[in-house]
């Protein structure tokens, strides 16, 4: 159960990270610019979104995987 609680806390941490990444003022940093002709804000939002979802997947599915974090 403590391991489960630790993973739950990590998910809450990811929630907080998502709040920061998906909202202004961080979004203002990427507005209006382009990267190789692609709108930077578009690229940033989808990359951050995919990364966050990937981290949720890692946290939730780690039951069968070796932990990438050390203390498990």
């Amino acid at each position: 159960m403590p391991r489960e609680a630790r993973r739950r806390d990590r998910l809450v941490g990811l929630f907080a990270l998502g709040l920061v990444l998906f909202n202004p003022p961080v979004l203002w940093l990427f507005a209006g610019a382009t990267l190789f002709g692609w709108p930077l804000l578009f690229i940033y939002l989808f990359c951050a979104w995919a990364a966050l979802t990937g981290m949720v997947a890692l946290t939730v599915e780690r039951r069968r995987m070796r932990s990438p974090f050390k203390e498990d």
């Binding site: 998910l11 203002w28 692609w38 930077l40 939002l45 966050l52």
Partner: protein, 909 residues
């Protein structure tokens, strides 16, 4: 030749038939006990009912006019799913435990099984959802209209489509209502799953995704030369490139408001609650859905912007941006792709309408109709046909309301605006849910106040303006404010001007909502039932559910309860459920007493059918309940939470105790082992001391008793006595050394020592011994070795010990002992190899123990005390080095000593 409209209608009809087939297959599999939907992937796909035609057509439309502004609607749910284990899992588990049937039921049950809360929530949900259902119907008919305008794309004869179109919305509404009635109202127990519907929804989610991605790839790869080109050409047009500017602070506030709105909606929308909680097969499916559902959202949103830009670049100006999904393939003659897109949009609309109407029908039936019937006393002995009839009628009614809304409001609002207004209505439940699950003091009155206030503000700021734009209300109300007060303008309440209407309405409604819930809860006391329900919901994790039975007291007859529940669930099923409940408690089903547990079971069974509020009223009608005062409930709950706290502490202490016990046991074992070693040591020492003493004493006695002994014999005996005395002395010296080292009392004279010098001195000192035994001593010493910090005399003692051991075990006359010193990176290696019999691997550690001499000590008494190697190892370890033995290349033993190099600072000094 087939006309375009017939082709279209045939396609749509065939698709609906397929859906019916899937749903009926899903139901049959469920009946056979082989659930089609018992998988986390199907669960995640069914959650994607969130993506309606509003996503399918509306997102593209919104992206075409406002850029990335549609994304918060999907980022919000992603964030909420990060909280899956904190919020969603709690809702899921609590709802399962209490057989919750809808979002209205959840709130009612939490706030004292309150019929008022259930009714209020139901009314708001219906008012909020009807425009949304209307939106789906409108999307289907609009998409049909667009396709019919381009009949030529299908290579078929074009006919006038208006006759077909005239009643499309009615047809669509009718078919979807039929579907919902057929598969959504089969069983009376609303907390049971509708597996057929979920299977169809999951399938539709796949169709949605596939057709959206197909159009996206078409836009990027067929219509344009890669997505880069779309962006490049859009960047060249100022009105398009500005879509990727993120406006100033006000746009930021809108973005945050939308994110919050979507977070609330994913939890509160009746259809989301239906698929997420009611239709959930196994709470563990939520785990994988926590990332699968956001992944689905990413996939379906990835192409929204490219499609919107491609549409704006290639479709003639004046095209409705909400139809770009169809106009894009149609404009370049890809009729088949447009048809696929149409099916995607149809799937999106159909899944939303079906699930939403089923969810709303449960709420209307359980939380509005049943309480009314109860009050009027119109419920007959077998209520099942009545309830099912009400649910079916409710489905038809909701769909009909949606249809009427489409007809009346028509084109006045864009798709996305209607959706957001709906979201804002159901978002009014969000504070009550979150506070209700985490804050025990949130009270019924507070929630009623908060939700009502929020809803009124919502209606004033968001609903009325949409009526006004439809021409139902005078425009002056909005331009000048109610009663002519400009402070009361719906779009700028209290002078808050400049915000997006949705942001504005959401801010005021949420503010009044939360203030109502918190403020009233803080100042108004809860009733006894509210307190106990609050404890059951908030402390669910701490096992408070077990105490539910203690919070009820009264008298009842089992027969009455069975008859009552039987009216709703059927006689046979009820008896079975009561018997199962009795067996679950280890009681004889025949002799079941009508105690608190049984009454609770009856109420729970009823709650699954008609909701917790009505179930409570029903059970109260056949049970004589003794009221438990607030004071007493508080006492019981206090006791419970104290007991839980005590047991938690007790558990913790017992764990600590166990750990301590284990430690003590280990220490005790170690002590015993030491004790045994000490006994062994004492007996060995006595034995070792007695042997030389015995021989000294016997030879002395011989000399004493026989003065006339011959000279050479006397000499011989005296020599033995001297040898044995020397051996005794050596033994005692060794033992003293050992004792001193062990006690840490030995004086060490640490200095810089060169191991090779010590080795050479030792070899010289023992030269005579080697010559006596005709054993060859080979010395391999380098010119210089790094200094080590050691006690020179002790190191000398070690080398002498090793050399004398080696000579002892080397064969006489053919013996060869090699003394080597070598340097390695961080120390000095000294080794003594012999060509004797060697040491068996199992003995290689043992020989470093005291008095451990390898070989048969009975037949061949080795020389030496048996302490030499033990002392040597201790000395070396004191110098920070190691001593061990290996097998020599030639077969003998090789004793190795490694000493660390002196620290750099010391050598510099």
């Amino acid at each position: 030749m087939l006309s375009g409209s017939v082709l279209l209608l045939l396609t749509a009809a065939a698709y609906m038939v397929l859906l019916f087939a899937i749903a009926s297959f899903g139901d049959r599999r469920a009946a056979a006990g082989r659930s089609l939907i018992d998988s986390s992937v199907v669960y995640a796909l069914s959650l994607a009912v969130y993506c309606t035609s509003w996503t399918f057509y509306g997102s593209v439309g919104r992206a075409a006019s406002r850029g990335l502004d549609f994304l918060p609607i999907y980022l919000g749910p992603t964030l909420v799913f990060c909280l899956g284990w904190v919020l969603l899992r709690r809702i899921l588990r609590v709802s399962k435990a209490h057989r919750i049937t809808s979002i209205a039921d959840l709130l009612a049950s939490r706030f004292g099984k309150s019929g008022a809360v259930a009714g209020l929530v139901t009314i708001i949900a219906v008012i909020g959802s009807v425009p949304y259902i209307a939106l789906q119907l409108k999307a289907v008919s609009t998409s049909l209209k667009v396709l019919l305008e381009h009949q030529g794309s299908f290579g078929v004869e074009a006919v006038d489509g208006t006759s077909v179109l005239r009643n499309t919305e009615l047809w669509v509404a009718g078919v979807l209502a039929l579907f919902a009635i057929l598969f959504g109202t089969r069983k009376i127990d609303a907390s049971e799953r509708h597996e057929g519907i979920v299977a169809a929804i999951a399938f539709e989610s796949i169709v949605k995704l596939v057709s959206f991605v197909a159009v996206g790839l078409f836009a990027g790869l067929v219509l344009f030369d890669g997505f880069g080109e779309i962006f490049a050409r859009a960047a060249a047009r100022p009105e398009l490139s500005q879509l990727f500017d993120f406006g100033g602070p006000s746009a930021g506030i809108d973005w945050i408001a939308l994110t919050f709105l979507a977070m609330a909606a994913i939890v509160c929308l009746p259809r989301q609650f239906q698929v997420m909680v009611v239709e959930n097969v196994d709470p563990r499916h939520l785990d994988r859905a926590l990332w699968l559902f956001p992944a689905y959202l990413i996939a379906i949103n990835l192409f929204v912007v490219p499609i919107a830009l491609a549409g704006l670049l290639s479709v003639p100006a004046g095209t409705d941006p909400d139809t770009l999904m169809l106009a894009l393939p149609l404009g370049s003659g890809y009729g088949g792709l447009a048809l696929l897109a149409f099916l995607g949009g149809l799937s999106a609309a159909a899944s939303m309408v079906i699930v939403e109407t089923v969810a709303l029908s449960t709420m209307i039936c359980n939380d509005l109709a049943v309480p009314m019937l109860l009050r009027l006393g119109w419920l007959g002995p077998d209520t099942r046909p009545v309830l099912l009839g009400i649910r079916r009628a409710a489905i038809a009614l909701v769909v009909l309301l949606g249809f009427a809304y489409v007809r009346i409001v028509r084109e006045s609002y864009g798709l996305v605006s209607i959706g957001l207004v709906s979201f804002a209505a159901v978002a009014q439940f969000f504070p009550a849910i979150v506070l209700g699950l985490f804050w025990k003091r949130a009270s019924r009155l507070g929630v009623l106040t908060g939700i009502s206030a929020g809803f009124l503000i919502w209606a004033y700021t968001l609903l009325l303006p949409s009526f006004a734009s439809a021409g139902w209300l005078p425009r002056e109300l909005f331009e000048q404010g109610a009663l002519g007060f400009s402070l009361l303008r719906p779009s700028a309440l209290f002078g808050l001007d400049g915000l997006d209407p949705v942001t504005h309405g959401l801010f005021w409604s949420m503010l009044s909502n939360i203030a109502g819930v918190v403020g009233v809860s803080l100042f108004v006391d809860q009733s006894a039932l509210e307190r106990s329900q609050a404890a059951l919901f908030v402390d669910y994790w701490r096992g408070a559910g077990h105490e539910e039975g203690r919070l009820w007291r009264g008298t009842a007859q089992v027969a009455d309860l069975v008859q009552l529940v039987g009216r709703f669930l059927g006689e046979a099923q009820t008896r079975e459920a009561f018997a199962a409940g009795a067996r679950g408690r280890g009681r004889d089903p025949a002799a079941l007493a009508a105690d608190a547990e049984t009454v609770r079971l009856a109420e729970r069974l009823l709650a699954g059918a008609i909701g917790s509020a009505s179930a409570r009223v029903m059970v109260a009608s056949v049970v004589h309940e003794e009221p438990i005062g607030t004071e007493e409930v508080m006492r019981i709950l206090d006791e419970t939470s104290q007991a839980i706290e005590y047991s938690r502490r007790l558990e913790q202490q017992s764990r600590t105790l166990e750990a301590t016990t284990a430690e003590l046991r280990r220490a005790n074992e170690r002590l015993r082992e030491l004790d045994r070693l000490k006994d062994d040591f004492v007996s060995t020492v006595s034995h070792e001391l007695r042997t030389p003493l015995t021989s000294i004493r016997s030879f002395s006695e011989i000399l004493l008793d026989n003065p006339a002994l011959e000279q050479h014999q006397r000499q011989e005996f005296l020599r033995i006595i001297v040898t044995e005395s020397e051996r005794l002395t050596r033994l005692i010296n060794d033992m003293l050394d050992l004792a001193k080292i062990e006690a840490g009392k030995l004086e060490w004279h640490m200095e810089r020592v060169h191991a090779s010098e010590v080795a050479r001195e030792a070899a010289t000192a023992l030269g005579q011994l080697f010559r006596d035994r005709s054993v060859e001593l080979k010395i391999e010493l380098p010119e210089s070795v790094p200094a080590t910090i050691a006690d020179r005399d002790r190191l000398f003692q070690v080398v002498v010990n090793l050399l004398s051991n080696a000579v002892k075990f080397s064969p006489r006359d053919a013996g060869l002992v090699t003394l080597t010193v070598k340097t390695d990176t961080d120390g000095v290696n000294l080794s003594v190899a012999d060509n004797g019999p060697g040491i068996a691997p199992k003995d290689r550690e043992a020989i470093f123990e005291r008095f451990r001499q390898v070989g048969d000590t009975l037949t061949a008494k080795p020389e030496g005390s048996g302490l030499g190697l033990a002392i040597s190892r201790m000395i070396i370890e004191h110098f920070g080095g190691r001593a061990w033995v290996e097998e020599a290349p030639g077969g003998g033993a090789i004793f190795r000593v490694w000493l660390p190099r002196e620290p750099a600072a010391a050598s510099a000094a």
